[in-house]
Subunit: 242 residues, 6 copies
């Protein structure tokens, strides 16, 4: 089992999460796996809507391309809505793992239906769209929000826990027997919530990084037959075309 | 029936198509509808993959926002893969119409299954993803390409027609009873192909602009309950965040 | 853009609605489109069940055949349950547009799920059957009735509005983000209800006539590959076979 | 186990099939079940399209209503496309059994996918529509025709057998592991074809009459909660409304 | 119509139900059908979970094989969760009928959605799994339990009836218009409950035995193309392999 | 990251595979994970049909129960058809991982559709049933066999490779962009086949053991809300009940 290097891309224009994610992920991977975290220089400050996602993609694709060229073995997109995932699969040959895709499929093996606990209601559509795109819509019991903006998730952990518990119970009433956190910023409460609710609670970043590691170790990546290399063409990102 | 102004956004960084689209659309709309066409200053030169789409979205959202502020009544995204459509629905309150979404739904009323005739195989996934997202996957017989890059579609019309006919027949063999062109750049051949194949052939731009006009005339737009206004936040597009 | 003639078939044996529909539709179509309305000499007095539909079909097919022979460019079936639609597509080569089919597909582009507001509970099955047949069942949040018989819909507009509002709210609770009226007889309240509910409200007749106009203008009709011309045979409608 | 009376309605305006159906069915039912066959005085001479079906429904509903009033215990609609079935369920409280509905569901228990062997290609859509309506579309491998008009099915039994065998093999290639005859007029060849093809071959009339008998014996009928009694209203069938 | 012999296999290691089932079934079948009932020597005492089912299968397969060899014409598995059904179809060429499979398909013809009334909550998953496997999940409104263990179902008929009525009403609220009993041990209350609830109530054993009889009379059985004869191999059931 | 003990259950009554599986799995897991392999004393010699599966389940459940009591952290069922998986989830609180379930879900993240390469045609139904049960049927392109009995899979590796390649190409033609081996006995050829076919090829045992490890490390297991503890009752496995 050889040494691996996984690049974690945080698709927001702030380094606020870099150190925390690195710490969490390093505790989660096997010996020999090196975690490198990068956030964006340009893009949205947070991702809370499909609109926000649009501003992250071009800059993410740049850093992911760079990571492949630098010899990284796999990429984890640290965002519960898998921003830029399909585009990245077209671009790269190393595995690219999304938190929603990997966690939703895992959840489908742990129970009948899962719910997503999102920070704010403006993001609900993002998770629904993901479930639909991954053909897991029948497995999605509901998406519910705790009404805390992403930037405030780590401000009051007691309040966050209470809201997760309250809304989590509603999800169970919706038919969920598994819960997935809808944001990488919901940290440090998984074990507690799982115990309280009595159903599996998934912290999707951890699933994603373990899945990335597994794919590299098993020499697997996405199918090049479906995710084809984009045709070369001029792309004007930092200056206008004329 | 009042006068309307429809803004057509061509999501590529070239003005090559502007005049042609304006001409086609002006012939298609009712008296009193004004067509204004805009292409991008930054973004991809063409859109032939989900990767390419990623570079168009931020710049499209800017011009669409501007169009709403300037009083346009509706927007048509001139791209057969509906780049940025959902993000735009979140952002705007005026109708935003995608060529794939409007044409696929119309096709579903004209027959049992439709196929998409795409320029190149690298784009096949885009149309499949659209059908899945719009929950019309059961209606999609196939996506097939004519193996001509978007930039070359208007180079040899005789060759294009022959390929459309050959591949169109394969689509019918796949089970399609309706054909949709997979690119706005496939122009001036619809009537001919429809006659040759004996099944409806849809030029999606024309359906989109008529659908936009209908929505405005009937005072309808997308549901604000689902497509929620994104939360305000800093977005760094033209310069880095620090 | 040439002049068009659209024949609107009201599938009931009463001319009660003829003038109103003509008035509504003439306000809705573009300059150059002529609206002609016809109701039945035989058939049911109203359509409130699949049973009722059965008595309208033979007589509708006659008037639709006649309309095609007289040179009409398209037909709109003025009934929210698309009575005789598929049979008419088999019979005719000009476009035949159903109110349910065109509106349900449009609704699917405006939101995630639609509900149908029907006059009476006896008709609920009709709309469910339509959604199933058009493969839009996943998009149907619910069908709910306002408990007013079709013949009484225009008797007390204040009462009708209140019921539409009350039941419309229940539909939103069912998960609908778009509402479709389940009867052409629900008139003159769409704008008001849309404002009250805050979601798109579709008056399906208006969508149907605009869709018919679009199909003719774009030289499109249903696929003859699927809707095949019926084999000739004796049909005994006005007298017995022996 | 009490005596039963089953009314078989042949929805065509000819008594050509009456005696044959009576004979076949009497051999199929249990002791104590009486079979009465009726065909139409008005309606289509044959049913080979959804268009044809439209002309049978009003007259069928009349004879079915009469049968219930006369004390029949159940009704079988002798047509492989279940013409008027849903309307009849609304109208009546005794069981009404369709050949397609009962056979398609039985086929789904005998294998993974069934194909329908139809007389002519103009009828293909009828069976597809049935499978969709009964939510068995995923179980339908294909509908294929033997290119013999209904009226000629009993003209050359050797030719019919050869065509059923040839087309039946294509159905198996389509993925079918069960075959259903798409017309009650395909008689006397089931055992032979089943032996030749090595898969179950269903003669739907026989399944329908046995299902009707079972429903009566078990005191079951369709759910009145869904199939509601139509509201009373004037219906003009034999003369114009004014 | 020749004489038949149907073997009914009760997949539990107790003969508690043998006489009652024989009595019920003999009242249900046609003259000339002989009912023979067998329960297991080894296996679970009751079946209330998928776990329990696992212990019944090997011993059921033995008695079913024996029944075929003894010349029985068909087999009914007397268990509302169809334990061992698919394995038996692989093994045998005579029809094998499951109570869930036959009843769920029949229910789908009587209404839009059915609910299953199960004895205990531990069994809910069994019925859900059945509906999924038979591709009838969309037709399943809910599975609800009356909270009585299988062994106690016949202890207090008044209490059982009250619970069935209470829970049955909840099922209707869930959207069911047909009810299926989730256990063969729920006997003698069907007529009463059907009258109380106003929707069809199915006692699945009766449907199964009538379906088995029909299959034999019509010379039908499951498709050998799908249910292939298992390859021969050593199987160690009563002693260890070495 | 603490030390783990994973019990691998090979559901056949032979120890032929024990050492090989142990060797393969030990190379695949992280440092600190201990692999223990057990096969059955009673049960089928091989598993090549749903019939065969039935004879393995009771004995598997015994060894799995024992493993949990002995303190194992997770269980892998070493069989590509997940024999006994759901029953085991009901019985146990530690994670139980099936090769089909984990691999099919992983395949769904690597491409659009997967095919299963099975040893013999008699097993095809097993994999189809799994895909259906896991609601991944839309993702299953095909199941095809290489026509080698399980016991002969390791007899001629050159022949096996050629057959896998030939049949694998057919799977790609069926629409697959990912291949899953349908038997744990197909070993040592994955890398080669993946290179030849140009699509991901999954050896499901390796995915299962890594998934089991991940679940333990992340403190996740199946949902007790759905997989309920079976009610206690007498079960007669080694002797008759009276």
């Amino acid at each position: 089992m050889r040494n691996l290097k996984i690049k974690v891309v945080i698709p927001v224009a702030t380094d606020h999460y870099d150190a925390k994610v690195k710490e969490d992920f390093e505790k989660t991977v096997r010996p020999g796996t090196e975690i490198s975290v990068v956030s964006l220089k340009r893009g949205p400050f947070r991702i809370e809507s499909i609109y926000d996602k649009g501003f992250a993609v071009p800059f993410m694709l740049e850093v992911m391309k760079e990571a492949e060229e630098e010899g990284y073995d796999a990429i984890v997109i640290f965002c519960a809505c898998d921003v830029g995932l399909v585009a990245a699969k077209e671009l790269l040959t190393i595995p690219v793992v999304g938190m929603a895709e990997s966690s939703m499929h895992l959840a489908a093996t742990l129970g009948e239906k899962f719910s997503v606990l999102a920070p704010t209601k403006e993001g609900v559509l993002m998770y629904r769209e993901r479930a639909r795109l991954y053909k897991l819509e029948d497995r999605l019991a509901s998406v519910r929000d705790v009404n805390i903006q992403v930037a405030d998730l780590d401000k009051d952990i007691t309040d966050l826990k209470q809201r997760l518990l309250d809304v989590g119970k509603k999800c169970i009433h919706d038919g969920a027997d598994v819960i997935i956190f809808g944001c990488g910023g919901i940290r440090g409460v998984r074990e507690w919530l799982q115990l309280q609710l009595g159903v599996p609670v998934i912290e999707p970043g951890l699933v994603a990084v373990r899945t990335a590691e597994m794919l590299v170790d098993l020499n697997l990546t996405h199918s090049m037959m479906t995710f084809m290399k984009p045709l070369e063409k001029p792309i004007y990102l930092y200056e206008s075309y004329k």
